[in-house]
């Protein structure tokens, strides 16, 4: 162990700079201990005590003393390095001059540098989401709560709290909204117009807004409420608020409400408010009896498609007409006699539910993981049975995996499985475009669809693959580009879920139509 010292006369540095220098030299290779100090008697005594100096040196408090201990070979270069570091301008003086703002860590902090904030979009894990929403409301901000797994009691608390402040909570579990033309979370780029929508279902909102766009209309606002809003205990607070806001909005002339059938008392409140809205209100309570919904100013719609069509008609000053399945010149190859069943593989929960409802009327029992009737629940969700429609966005399938609108792997696997089933006649698919969804669903699905067809034809069967693309021309994925890609591999596309479902039903209802037209 060697020692080395260097005295730089009349070279004053403050003690902090010197401590910093000491710490830098100590880290040099071969250096055991190092100190740079102003050589006051006290400091020199300290170095002697610490073993860095053999004996006091001849120096005073204006002299800078560097003392090192370590490998003999290393010390000389370490001393040189120390001296040159002292004589260089410090890195701090050449450092970043511009002020570095801190990115916001909380909603309240975010408000500080974001003038005019009026909505908070929350997609944190569910267990933290209610607290974030409560803070947002306390700060006077509207909330879109994309997060799921928020307790019903928290939802009630948040919505009542919001209501007192004349704010709205869209959600929890609200996947879609379009506010002032800005798509939020999973939403499509739709033309602006006079149709205002309030929906308890994300994909329901997407279907209606996309179809309104497709048929030449436009959307003023699309307000999501989350799936539990019309639960008896929540009382439809958000839907009633949305309805009221759209009724008062001069840019909205037609209102569409979408939900599964609410509890009777909530339905009563919603219908009463809708009837008094002073504007035409189209209501699609999925599966509800239209006659129970009909009131003055209220137009019941049996399907999402019907709701969109009615809204467009009303927006154009026409009375909505009852729609029929628009199946025209559908040509399909012959089916083998045992090919009798439909298998719907859905990424949108509401599409799956609507398919169940429509197919049930035409074909009887429809098995599902999210059935209309409890007795139609699949005992094993991984294996289809007779007519089956599956919601692959169900929690059962998304645990530890992205949603099927983003990640197509699970649905692709299931598609191959269904294609291998000799009893399958039709595979029914939804494709959802827009922000949030996969940037190019066709690229993910087309090769698998091709493979499914090949597997079936090798087994001597023709497989009908049908579906629809929920999207718009302005969506990042582009509706017509996606549709073309699916059509090129022989997927029969309809404009809407309802049409696709009816098309599928018509195939299995008349399996004996050989090479014919329906």
């Amino acid at each position: 162990m060697a020692r080395a010292t260097k005295i730089i006369r009349n070279f004053y540095r403050d003690s902090v700079s010197l401590m910093q220098l000491s710490s830098t030299i100590t880290k040099l290779p071969g250096v055991e201990q190092a100190s740079a100090i102003m050589a006051s008697p006290n400091n020199v005594a300290l170095l002697v005590e610490a073993g860095l100096l053999a004996e006091p040196v001849e120096a005073d408090a204006n002299d800078l003393l560097i003392a090192l201990q370590g490998n003999a070979e290393a010390l000389e270069s370490a001393l040189a390095a120390a001296e040159s570091a002292l004589k260089q301008p410090s890195p701090s003086s050449t450092g970043n001059e511009q002020s570095r703002g801190m990115s916001p860590r909380s909603i309240e902090m975010g408000l500080g540098n974001f003038v005019g904030a009026n909505l908070v979009l929350i997609s944190t894990p569910g267990e933290y989401a209610a607290a974030e929403a409560f803070k947002a409301l306390s700060l006077g901000l509207n909330v879109m709560l994309f997060s799921d797994n928020v307790a019903l009691k928290d939802e009630i608390l948040l919505k009542r709290f919001a209501q007192e402040r004349d704010l709205i909570v869209m959600g929890p579990d609200c996947g879609t909204a379009i506010i002032n033309g800005i798509p939020l979370a999973f939403a499509n780029v739709v033309r602006r117009g006079v149709v205002g929508v309030v929906g308890a279902s994300g994909t329901g909102l997407q279907q209606v807004t996309c179809l309104v766009d497709r048929w030449g209309g436009g959307i003023s606002q699309a307000i999501g409420t989350g799936g539990h809003d019309l639960h008896r205990d929540v009382g439809g607070i958000s839907m009633l608020q949305g309805l009221k806001a759209l009724a008062a909005d001069p840019s909205t002339s037609v209102i569409v409400l979408i939900s599964k059938p609410p509890s009777p008392e909530v339905a009563g409140k919603v219908l009463e408010a809708a009837s008094g809205a002073g504007k035409a209100v189209v209501i699609n309570f999925l599966g509800a009896d239209p006659d129970r919904v009909r009131r003055e100013n209220i137009y019941p719609a049996a399907t999402l498609e019907d709701a969109a069509a009615a809204a467009v008609a009303l927006a154009n000053g026409r009375t909505p007409e009852a729609r029929r399945a628009r199946v025209t010149s559908l040509s399909i190859a012959p089916l083998a006699p045992q090919q009798r069943y439909i298998r719907g593989l859905y990424s949108g929960g509401t599409f799956c539910y609507e398919a169940s409802l429509l197919l049930k009327k035409e074909l009887g029992q429809i098995n599902s993981n999210t059935p209309v009737e409890p007795e139609d629940r699949l005992s094993d969700v991984w294996t289809s049975r007779k007519h089956t429609v599956i919601d692959l966005g169900d929690d059962l399938f998304t645990r530890g995996r992205p949603h099927p609108m983003i990640d197509h792997r699970l649905r692709n696997e299931r598609l191959i499985k269904e294609a291998n089933d000799p009893e399958v006649a039709v595979i029914l698919l939804d494709v959802v475009l827009g922000y949030g969804s996969h940037p190019d669903p066709a690229a993910e699905m087309v090769p698998v669809i091709q493979k499914a067809r090949d597997l079936a034809s090798k087994a001597g069967r023709h497989l009908a693959i049908m579906g629809f693309v929920c999207g718009t021309a302005a969506d990042p994925q582009n509706l017509s580009k996606q549709e073309t890609a699916f059509q090129e591999v022989g997927v029969t596309l309809a404009e809407s879920n309802a049409q696709a479902v009816r098309m599928a039903a018509s195939v299995v209802r008349k399996p004996d139509v050989v090479g014919g037209r329906l």
């Binding site: 902090v16 401590m19 910093q20 000491s22 201990q33 006290n42 300290l46 005590e49 073993g51 860095l52 890195p91 701090s92 450092g95 970043n96 001059e97 002020s99 801190m102 990115s103 916001p104 860590r105 909380s106 909603i107 309240e108 902090m109 975010g110 408000l111 540098n113 974001f114 003038v115 005019g116 904030a117 009026n118 909505l119 979009l121 929350i122 997609s123 944190t124 933290y128 209610a130 607290a131 974030e132 803070k135 306390s138 700060l139 901000l141 509207n142 004349d166 704010l167 506010i179 002032n180 800005i182 798509p183 939020l184 780029v189 606002q221 949305g242 806001a245 759209l246 949030g436 990042p476």
Partner: protein, 470 residues
Amino acid sequence: MIQALFQEKLHVLNVGLSSFADSITRAGGSVLQIEWAPPAQGQQEVGRALARLVNLLSVETANQTAFDAYQAAQPVLKGVGTASRVLPNMAERMILHSGPPIAWTDMCGPMKGAIVGAILYEGWTENLARAEAMASSGEIAFEPCHHHNAVGPMAGIISPSMPVWMVTNTTNGYQAFSNFNEGLGKALRFGANGLDVITRLKWMGQVLAPALRASVELLGGVDLKPMMAQALHMGDEVHNRNAAASSLFLKRLISALLKTRTPAADIAAVVEFIAGNDHFFLNLSMAACKAMTDAAHGVPGSSMVTAMARNGVEFGIRVSGTGSRWFTAPAPIVDGLFFPGYSAADAAPDLGDSAITETAGVGGFAMAASPAIVKFVGGTPQDAIDNTMAMTHITVGRNNAFTLPALNFAGSPAGIDIRKVVDTGIQPIINTGIAHREAGIGQIGAGITRAPLACFMQAVSALAKMVSAT
């Protein structure tokens, strides 16, 4: 009205998936991404308590009241007294220490050493071993300085016959106290208790204190706030750098000192002592800060921190709206630079009442005024400004009296809000000295540390309970 939203431009704060923010931007919308992490270290119950307090009118109003009282405080050095005579509830066999309450057996090395030194200083015994036995026997009461309106740096030891600074907040008439600073190196506050230390303490009691008492009397009091403000313009942050403030104080004192009947030799010794200690002003700064933050204490519902103090084992905070209760967590280790021959392995955990300065909006909170300080952790002057700016996000307001040249003379951020600390996870920054973990060795370095989040989390839970009970 909700439909009013439809007439405005949509401005979205995005909490969670950043891809949603990207989509909004691509769609031509206005969005700000929050750098979100579960608040309160993911403890949901604390997170929910916090949510109930955010922007709650009663808390906001209480904080304004507390902050106004803090801001209005005018700490004036009014005199020099003896602890047993002037400190409220000071008993004859009582020794005060820094930080939250702690039992003798749990104390850190420097605090034990300092207590032994104080027993020797008081003359309760002449023998070191006997002093230790007395300390552990329970015959001496140990209480926090803060429980007696006092503060002390490092071990913060105040025994009955020690001289203390007497500071009065002339706005409300309340007093705050601090002991005298002994200088660097081997000192009682670092646990040193050798003969040299005791001798110096005796001299401070017998010569320094009377000279200062007479001088302050002649001066009719010294306004401390303007002096601190001036020092901030001279490169001090009046916690870990007091070079300018100590000089200003000596300048203010010296003519009065010469007019007292103090013998010339003693005047020389007093001047030499003060001039030789760049931290002489620290204890005055601390007493002034204590007077200011005490003014804000006891406002029901207020979430403003009124004390941060460490006893070398635990870090504790007190909050205006939660009474005398301490919220504690293990004291952190200080990140800093060490004197020759020492390293982090030798360091005692964070120690002392001096974080009262940060509580009052100076020290680490005014680091922008004192770029030299940031070099303790290898930082740049820009880092000093950034540190001060970060504190603006966790404070109730700005102290107009403490302006910062580097920030265009904006006031220093002051009045730590427990809600904002827990919501942002930004921990209050503290500039501090580092004591050796063994008694009697003294200061071995200096650096920067952060107040533990756990203290603020407990305080949020407690305040939420109190607020919802009313």
